[in-house]
């Protein structure tokens, strides 16, 4: 039989262990990869031969990479935005012990290319953790996130479509108009630690490579884990190659690209783009500052005119400081309103990025659309 659809990933479903640790959730992805490595190096000593006779065998590392779309409609419960919101909330939970752990997420929204999410995740390599799996579960007979048959265009709330430029809006410091691309990079800083084993009782019998319960060093008598459990599959893994993983910080920064508009509004023309256009209520240069003095009132909005720690927004230019300095929002077709891109299905902002500082801007003059590339850093609330 030459037909071998079993070789094709399009028939498969990608499932990740949910942050609660008990169930799995399906996601729609463009690509996914699981990578397991073990640190092995050859060591050479003064040993009488140049050949590698000694290997230094280190720790296990298990990481996952995903590329997912952002969707509008029924299957939006399975898209990259849902994945980020689920696992970002888990990373912010001090007591969470479940894997996988999100380590970075890059959200790219562009006018031409739509929206794409690149996610990196981490696990401990323990086979029994199974944080990631591929199944052939029938997609049309399951429910995800409270939506039954999310990809069925008839049963789902709406047929699903890829989120496009008209589904997003952004306000990033002074960049409000003509935004062609916005990229938000979330980094969850993690640390792996390996500890010297305490007193051991030998390898477990039911789980390969998993250390058995150990003597609690604080109690020194009974055979228990430090969390009090008696499980041989203890989560602390003293004396194994599987690491302790902790979250040490979350940072959000990003970059973008906006078109630059230069319009000589002076009458008669003065052949520069340094003035404020009263009739259009905007500067002659949009998304770039070509003035030598910040404009007539010293209130133009170029990066170099920012005071230390000050967020310069178009709202501030208009004298209204109540407007958010940063916003990246997606259209909610169900409620017909804009939602924070980081608002979860419960209506909670997993992270609040209402303030940002633009930290670089590069003005590019080319034959074609002039652009300003910019970078920003957010306060994370």
């Amino acid at each position: 039989m030459p037909i071998r659809n079993q070789l094709f990933g399009v028939y498969k479903l990608l499932e990740l262990k949910s942050p609660t640790g008990s169930t799995y959730r399906q996601y729609i992805a463009e690509s996914a990869s699981r990578r397991r490595t073990m640190d092995v190096q050859a060591k050479n000593y003064i040993q009488g031969t140049a050949k590698s006779r000694i290997l230094d065998i280190g720790a296990i590392s298990e990481t996952f990479s995903f590329k997912l779309p952002i969707l509008v409609g029924g299957a939006s419960v399975m898209d990259g935005r849902s994945l980020i919101l689920d696992y970002l909330a888990a990373a912010l939970d001090e007591t969470s012990t479940n894997l996988p752990l999100i380590t970075s997420a890059s959200i790219t929204v562009s006018s031409e290319g739509g929206a794409m999410v690149d996610v990196e995740m981490l696990s401990d390599g323990l086979p029994s953790s199974v944080p990631f799996r591929v199944t052939n579960r029938p997609i049309d007979s399951i429910g995800v996130g409270g939506v039954s048959s999310p990809l069925d265009p008839i049963n789902a709330p709406n047929p699903t479509r890829v989120a496009k430029f008209y589904d997003f809006r952004a306000k990033i410091g002074k960049f409000v108009y003509y935004i062609m691309e916005a990229k938000v990079q979330i980094k969850v800083n993690t640390e792996k630690k390996y500890f010297i084993a305490g007193k051991q009782s030998g390898w477990g019998t039911s789980s390969q490579y998993v250390n058995a319960a150990i003597t609690n060093p604080l109690k020194s008598t009974s055979i228990t884990n430090v969390d009090g459990s008696l499980s041989g599959n203890n989560p602390y893994n003293f004396g194994t190659q599987f690491p302790f993983i902790g979250v040490s910080g979350i940072t959000v920064e990003g970059s973008g690209k906006a078109a630059v508009e230069l319009f000589d509004a002076s009458s008669p023309k003065d052949y520069d783009f340094e003035d404020y256009n009263n009739s259009a209520a905007k500067w002659e240069g949009v998304n770039v500052d070509l003035t030598p003095d910040g404009g007539g009132d010293g209130n133009n909005y170029e990066l170099t005119w920012q005071e230390p720690g000050e967020v310069r927004t178009s709202a501030l230019q208009a004298g209204d400081a109540s407007e958010a300095g940063f916003a990246l929002e997606i259209w909610n077709a169900g409620t017909s309103q804009w939602d924070n891109l980081f608002k979860n299905s419960s209506g909670t902002d997993v992270i609040n990025l209402s303030k940002s500082v633009v930290k670089s801007s590069n003005f590019n003059v080319v034959v074609g659309v002039m652009t300003s590339d910019f970078e920003f850093q957010c306060w994370v609330k």
Binding site: F8, G9, V10, Y11, K12, L13, L14, Q26, I28, A29, E30, S31, A32, L68, P69, L71, V72, A75, V109, S111, E112, G114, N136, R137, P138, I139, D140, L151, D152, P153, P159, T160, R161, V162, K164, F165, Y166, D167, F168, R169, A170, K171, V176, Y177, Y178, I179, M180, A182, A259, A327, W331, A333, V367, G368, V369
Partner: protein, 331 residues
């Protein structure tokens, strides 16, 4: 005339005609554009050979790791207006070029403002397609944000001067279309081969057997994320013209007595002043940049093909940068 076949019902059963011919030929009433082959350019009537201008949109489906190969996810992108009209170069009773043709030519030469095109059969959908798909909510609106993307004016013996014009743009103001075929159509005359002439400094070009001039405007459309305080829209935000390329070509048949200097070895020729005279409008290229001539050999009449680009001032507001001259303009 044959007698009508007697039938118990007024209508024929579907099975009979569909077996003989695909489709609904037996029941259709053929439509033709012969009676409505006019459009309005900037509110002025223009008779056209054809009008193929429509709203277009990037629509596709996407496939992911999704549990099966069938398409479940739509990809609905930007929306714009594009197409072409074909018409004869015509003049009115006084020999003046018709106003809509003048507007089109000027826009082709200097595309810094929009043309408006009205028809009575080009429907548009101005809501967001991704949220309002289907067949309803179409509107007859003015296509009011168009520029000339390319224009080709050509003529050959025993034929009229034909202009093929590609337009590109969007719908700006969403003005309801109110196209009405005018009751009084102005009398016009199509310019033919007999009205035309060509010349250049080095030659009277008496053996030209066809000529063509082409204007190509390189257009880049713009789409952005939704502006923060504005309404969502899946149409392109606008567009800009990056490059304007003017190019002419002509064919000459070879015979004894023609000038010697007509085999271009390529390169620019300052002051050559090539004029393609289409009677009501002339195209003047002061500094042509020639390609190498092509001289195919065949068993038929030998015809030499010459082609050139225009070198001109980037700022067109002076004589050095001007291309199109109407009857009232002095070269």
């Amino acid at each position: 005339m044959g007698r009508r076949k007697k039938s118990s019902t007024v209508f024929q059963a579907m099975a009979e005609p569909t077996v003989k011919a695909p489709g609904l030929n037996s029941r259709m009433e053929p439509a033709t554009g012969l009676l409505v082959r006019s459009v309005r350019i900037n509110n002025n009537y223009l008779l056209v050979e054809s009008c193929d201008i429509y709203q277009k949109q990037d629509i596709d489906v996407k496939f992911y790791i999704q549990g099966g190969p069938r398409s479940s996810v739509a990809d609905i992108g930007k929306k714009w207006v594009e197409g072409q009209i074909v018409f004869k170069l015509s003049v009115d009773r006084s020999g003046e070029i018709l106003t809509p043709i003048r507007d089109i030519l000027l826009n082709a030469e200097k595309p810094i403002s929009e043309l408006t095109l009205d028809t009575n059969h080009t429907l548009s959908h101005v809501n967001i397609t991704g949220e309002d798909g289907g067949f309803d909510n179409n509107s007859l609106v003015s296509l009011d944000g168009l520029v000339v993307k390319s224009l080709t004016i050509s003529v050959s013996p025993e034929k009229d001067v034909t202009i093929n014009c590609s337009l590109y743009g969007t719908i700006d103001l969403r003005t309801p279309g109110d196209y009405v075929t005018p009751e009084d159509i102005p009398i016009s005359r199509a310019i033919s081969w007999a009205d035309c002439d060509a010349s250049r400094f080095s030659s009277a070009m008496r053996t030209v057997s066809s000529m063509e001039f082409k204007i190509e405007n390189s257009i880049q459309d713009l789409i952005f994320l939704t502006h923060y305080n504005e309404q969502r829209n899946d149409q392109i935000y606008g567009f800009g013209v990056k490059e304007t390329r003017w190019q002419g070509s002509y064919e000459e048949f070879l015979r004894l007595g023609m000038e010697v200097d007509n085999y271009a070895h390529a390169g620019w020729k300052v002051g050559e002043n090539i004029i393609f005279d289409f009677n009501a409008v002339r195209f003047l290229v002061r500094v042509p940049l020639f390609f190498k001539s092509e001289q195919p050999i065949s068993s038929k009449l030998l015809v030499r093909k010459s082609k050139f680009l225009s070198l001109t001032s980037p700022d067109q507001n002076n004589a050095q940068g001007k291309l199109i001259y109407f009857a009232e303009d002095v070269i």
